[in-house]
């Protein structure tokens, strides 16, 4: 494995560990609560983040020393593939958010919702870090395409797998829209949030994958990759909480303790339908806007149905949510197509 591939592969592995820690941490909050900063899930989460930061720094230093082509320069000293820098800045955002999040918990309580400022800041940092890994893989893929060198399918699979983590991150960001904060108040109107979030997320990720790969069913494959990992985490997290709780002598909020939540499985699986729609429309109408808008229709329907499983939903909020989901899907598709173009053609 070359340095150009080894660095993003290491970054992706570290971020996967961090995201496993995040899934564990969310289950920990749900069943035990945040009793201190140094909980077992936090150790995994921030261990993964720290390892990503070290790997990104090592990658930058190594590439600066190698002075190989296909890099971007930073501060006229450091040079590395753009993606490694982007991942580094994502990790920096995560690292800054951690103590601020701890401070926020000390002020506002141990069980602050996921939609708290420094949770969102950390999740944005995670998304940026994931994007960086996609840049790094895609740049090498574009170079191999131009030179007609082998290994393109494996590299495309790695890039799509890295990009699928962005969908998992976006689903985590929109998770409170499922139970705790299903609607957003806009003046006199209530708007269902989840349809908008799902439409934007699946369109962004699907269009990015479709344009980067240039062949169907890239969007469906990417969403399937995200679903597979998300379902594995959803199945494993309750057991991990039970195990750590038994070892540490913790008690649960609910008598039953941690259990697998069916909706955690249904959300990623349900997104396969909009992804397939996106693939189909993208084949007929290249570009992301039409494909994103088309994918938004089943995504919005899924969002309304999912929220209705857990809380009462008014017709007005559902209609407004679905209506806003369409332009959100188009916007996500457009942005995804722009990123996909850079990934398909850019070699840095």
């Amino acid at each position: 494995m070359t340095v150009r591939l080894g660095v993003p592969a290491t970054l992706m592995a570290c971020l996967l560990v961090a995201s496993a820690g995040l899934a564990w941490d969310i289950a920990w909050h749900t069943y035990i609560g945040r009793d201190s900063f140094l909980t077992p899930p936090h150790a995994v989460l921030y261990g993964g983040v720290a390892a990503t930061g070290v790997a990104a720094l090592a990658g930058v230093l190594l590439e600066t020393w190698r002075r190989a082509p296909g890099t971007t320069m930073l501060l006229t000293v450091f040079q590395a593939p753009l993606g490694v820098f982007v991942t580094g800045f994502g990790v920096l955002t995560l690292v800054v958010s951690a103590p601020l999040d701890n401070y926020w918990h000390e002020l506002y309580g141990i069980d602050v919702t996921l939609w708290a400022p420094f949770h969102v800041m950390g999740l944005i940092g995670g998304l940026v870090a994931v994007m960086g890994v996609v840049y790094a893989f895609a740049a090498d893929l574009a170079r191999r395409r131009r030179l007609a060198v082998g290994g393109q399918v494996a590299l495309l699979a790695l890039a799509l797998f890295a990009w699928s983590a962005a969908l998992r991150g976006l689903l985590t960001i929109f998770q409170p829209a499922l139970f705790h904060s299903p609607t957003v108040v806009l003046g006199p109107l209530d708007v269902l949030t989840l349809p908008v979030g799902l439409a934007f997320s699946v369109a962004l990720v699907g269009a990015g994958a479709a344009v980067m790969s240039g062949r169907p069913p890239a969007a469906t494959v990417t969403v399937a990759m995200a679903a597979l990992v998300a379902i594995l985490f959803a199945l494993a997290a309750p057991g991990a909480v039970r195990w750590a709780a038994a070892a540490g002598g913790y008690t649960f909020y609910t008598p039953a303790g941690p259990v697998v939540q069916p909706l955690d499985l249904m959300v990623p699986l349900g997104l396969l339908v909009p992804a397939a729609v996106l693939d189909g429309v993208h084949r007929l109408v290249p570009g992301g806007v039409a494909a994103g808008a088309a994918a938004a229709v089943p995504a919005a329907a899924l969002g309304v149905w999912l929220v209705a499983q857990s809380v009462p939903v008014t017709a007005g909020a559902a209609v407004l949510g679905a209506a806003i989901a369409l332009p959100a899907g188009a916007a996500g598709g457009w942005l995804g197509a722009q990123l996909g173009t850079v990934w398909r053609l850019g070699e840095r």
């Binding site: 082509p69 296909g70 890099t71 971007t72 320069m73 930073l74 501060l75 006229t76 040079q79 753009l82 820098f85 982007v86 800045f89 920096l92 955002t93 800054v96 958010s97 601020l100 401070y103 926020w104 002020l107 708290a116 400022p117 420094f118 949770h119 969102v120 800041m121 944005i124 940092g125 940026v128 942005l335 197509a337 722009q338 990123l339 173009t341 850079v342 053609l345 850019g346 840095r348």
Partner: protein, 175 residues
């Protein structure tokens, strides 16, 4: 081949990531004013001040000494038990009326402190120990928390705009 121009967009991301470091938490101001009288040898020292005092902020102690015989007043701040601070001098200035003084002191660490006020005049010498509670920085307001928390979005937006331009350039180069 390297491309330095990308550094601008990366710098924007860096700025967005680093912006929270520059933002200081706001300090809550829930302090009340209190007045207490202390014995300092032959003198009675009356002290009016905020309670609690905010950490690291210049705090005014209005001191009145009776009898008002023009005694000299010197004040020193001393860390109380369990407070990881150091002794320091406080500034003392004469007040508007005879026998009144304005003592200004800043306390660098939250916790228990003592403001020791030494009085030396015609009636004799004495020292009053004024206990001071120094409060920690207050709650960061929610709006500021969200501003800091969402600040990386600004850097991300700048980066994405650059990527949209890059996509246009790459597409036109292919055509």
């Amino acid at each position: 081949m390297t491309r330095p121009v990308a550094g601008a967009w990366l710098a924007a991301l860096a700025l967005a990531a680093g912006a929270p470091l520059a933002a200081a938490p706001a300090v809550a101001s829930a302090a009340a004013t209190r007045t207490d009288a202390y014995r300092a040898g032959p003198y009675t020292v009356t002290v009016t001040r905020e309670d609690p005092v905010q950490v690291d902020r210049a705090t005014v102690f209005a001191v009145a000494v009776a009898p008002a015989d023009g005694a000299g007043v010197v004040a020193v701040r001393l860390p109380g038990p369990g407070t990881a601070g150091r002794q320091g001098r406080a500034e003392t200035a004469p007040g508007a009326r005879p026998g009144t003084y304005v003592v200004t002191a800043a306390f660098p660490v939250r916790g228990a402190w003592v403001l020791a006020i030494a009085v030396d005049g015609r009636a004799g010498r004495g020292q009053a120990a004024v206990p001071v509670t120094v409060a920690a920085p207050g709650a960061i307001p929610e709006w500021l928390g969200w501003t800091i928390g969402l600040s990386p979005l600004a850097g991300l937006a700048v980066f994405l705009v650059a990527q949209v331009r890059t996509a246009r350039r790459l597409r036109s180069a292919v055509r």
